[in-house]
């Protein structure tokens, strides 16, 4: 699926440019996009190294285990095929926590670690059930305090920059719940199909 989407975005863009005389912009966009990706990756290095370092210390200090124990009843239900004391749980939870507090930077390294652990469990290059659940929750956003948006609102002199926190939390709640439900529906459809 991602192969199709990836190729189609470029194909449609180039073909469209042929007929609309925007080839110049395509040429420019091509290398700008590549440039941006490199800049983004370099920016990611500092974030990844820093947070993975801190996470390693937290792991060895037993903090991840405490976090896992705290939220066990909740996450074991969300991720039934991950063994209860598996390190993947600790990383999943720290990713969720970082997301909740709007620490987008810190969430990515922990999410990648969680994926790594889940891949070790499934031993395959196919997305496992728990990986899909994990991504569904992540893509629906878990932010409680959208700091970036608040900053933009302050910049444009909003009378109440934080008044959207409430609606954001509500909307997040709806989209995350929807993500979990949709994920479950797809999962059970898959299970039924495999049985037949």
């Amino acid at each position: 699926m991602v192969n199709l989407i990836w190729a189609f975005m470029a194909i449609i863009g180039i073909v469209y440019a042929m007929f609309n005389g925007t080839m110049d912009q395509v040429n420019q966009a091509l290398f700008q996009g590549a440039d941006e990706a490199v800049t983004l990756t370099i920016g990611l290095i500092s974030v990844l190294v820093f947070w993975l370092g801190i996470m390693k210390v937290a792991e060895e200090a037993g903090l991840l285990r405490i976090l896992t124990r705290l939220f066990k009843p909740f996450v074991t239900r969300l991720f039934p095929d991950i063994p209860k004391n598996h390190p993947a749980m600790g990383y999943i939870l720290s990713n969720f926590t970082a997301n909740l507090f709007g620490l987008g930077n810190a969430a990515t390294p922990m999410g990648i670690k969680a994926m790594e652990q889940m891949k070790q469990l499934s031993q395959s290059d196919k997305a496992s059930r728990s990986m899909i659940t994990f991504l569904a929750i992540n893509t629906s956003s878990l932010t409680l305090i959208p700091t970036t948006v608040i900053a933009i609102r302050m910049k444009y002199e909003s009378a109440a920059p934080t008044e959207i926190v409430g609606t954001t939390i509500l909307a997040t709640l709806v989209s995350t719940t929807a993500a979990i439900i949709v994920d479950r529906i797809f999962h059970y459809r898959r299970v039924r199909k495999n049985k037949r």
Binding site: A10, A29, V57, L63, D125
Partner: protein, 176 residues
């Protein structure tokens, strides 16, 4: 307001403080562990580069050519028919594809309509309550080499759609 600003500046240093205090207490070799954990970060970022670059170039072509805009214009009437405000349509469509583009659009909407307008509030809420599905999929699956994504993209996009509709309904109820 001050509480939230204070909270967001205090939280990271406080987490680090907590980790370091507990680790030192438990006699973990803190600096050595930090370096060991951090080492992984370099290779992780480098292995991510081709995935990110490929995706970003493809998105850049689509945007640069004007095809994305044309598509948004073409699909807008359908979305408006189900009650999605016209000004918000481009943001709703771009949000899952590109985080930077969405942030730019949100800023633009807030700037031109004012942060305390209906559109301003709606854009703010949508920006905060959704995430860049394609980016997250690329980064998380790319980093660990998952090639077959299963239903992940479909689930993510459906949830995005529900989230956008929910934002519109919630903002209408709260602020209108």
């Amino acid at each position: 307001m001050t509480l939230i600003t204070t909270l967001s500046t205090w939280i990271i240093p406080c987490i680090i403080l907590l980790v370091l205090v507990v680790a030192t207490w438990k006699k973990v070799p803190t600096y050595e562990s930090f370096v060991e954990g951090g080492k992984e970060g370099v290779s992780m970022a480098v292995s991510l580069l081709p995935f990110l670059l490929g995706m970003m170039v493809s998105i850049a072509i689509l945007r640069g050519s004007g095809a994305l805009e044309a598509f948004i214009e073409w699909i807008s009437p359908f979305l408006m028919a189900i009650g999605v405000p016209a000004d918000i349509v481009p943001l709703a469509l771009v949000r899952p594809i590109s985080g930077t583009a969405a942030l730019g659009m949100t800023t633009e909407l807030i700037q031109s309509h004012g942060p305390d307008s209906f559109i301003g509030r709606l854009a703010s809420t949508m920006q905060g309550s959704t995430d860049t599905t394609l980016y997250i999929l690329t980064v998380y699956f790319g980093a660990v080499g998952i090639r077959r994504m299963g239903d992940a993209l479909k689930v993510g996009l459906i949830a995005d759609f529900i989230g956008i509709i929910a934002s519109i309904i919630i903002v209408s109820i709260v602020f209108l």
